[in-house]
Symmetry: C2
Subunit: 135 residues, 2 copies
DNA sequence: TTCATAATTGCAATATTGTTGCATTTAGTT
DNA sequence: AACTAAATGCAACAATATTGCAATTATGAA
């Protein structure tokens, strides 16, 4: 199963990559490199970083950067319009103020932002509030 | 002048802080810690990090995090609704695909995002495209 | 203006995060 | 089964960030 996902994205299905992908599939929220390290029994940190880079480049996962937070990553939408590390999703990144978890939440469509003098080509939205589980 | 800004934000106006603030005032786009280091002649890196932390906490500057980019920082809006490191601005973070610079661009109001099951309390928008200078 | 004091600085040491080069191993193909 | 490009694992290293502590300094009060 993981194997298919990797091959679809032009990545060799090695045991290490399958295990890392497994970690993502086991979480419904975004995770950090540290989360992955903890989930893997034994591992080589360098290989992990390289795996993450390959996953991002090939559209398996995308990064989520929030001020004051560690970098997190989450699986791409199946329809992720990625081009060599460039991702385009139709979801909002939402962080819960209670549990701190970050979720990718689907939306009908992203807002249409217009900025005088600037040509806007892509928009990403980050929201904060209270998540389903914490209400 | 820098002195007043710092005092307004309940920070002691030390020479170091004034110099760092100066760097922000001299740039119309967001800058990284490295940019500041290069702009300062001699400096102590630890003090710089602590200065940055203090500036963020007291609402002088805010962080801008973008996937795959170094962390950047920019001056807060004068009306920045900050509370111990929590910032609330009425602008969009825009990165130019040509020059890579990041700008804080004022908007009338941020979009109203609704997510089923989630209580949205704050929204931040990051956009990409072509900036004024590069068109 | 001087003093007292809490805040800030600067240094040493250390932690965290991420990268590069290279020899070895392995997945996917022929 | 064999070949080959890709991936791994190790060592070394670079960049980024933090903590504790002694010395210094900005600021408000005397």
């Amino acid at each position: 199963m993981n194997t298919e996902i990797l091959k679809e994205k032009q990545l060799r299905a090695t045991p290490f990559r399958k295990k890392v992908l497994e970690v993502f599939l086991n979480n419904e929220h975004a995770i950090s490199a540290q989360d992955i390290e903890e989930a893997l029994g034994k591992f080589d940190r360098i290989t992990l970083y390289r795996t993450i880079k390959a996953f991002i480049k090939n559209g398996v996962i995308h990064e989520i950067a929030m001020p004051g937070e560690v970098k997190r990553m989450a699986l791409c939408d199946p329809v992720c319009n990625h081009d060599d590390g460039l991702h385009e999703h139709n979801h909002v990144h939402f962080q819960c103020r209670k549990c701190d978890e970050v979720y990718c939440v689907e939306v009908e469509e992203l807002p249409d932002i217009r900025l005088k003098g600037f040509k806007v080509e892509e928009v990403e939205v980050q929201a904060k509030g209270i998540c389903q589980n914490c209400r």
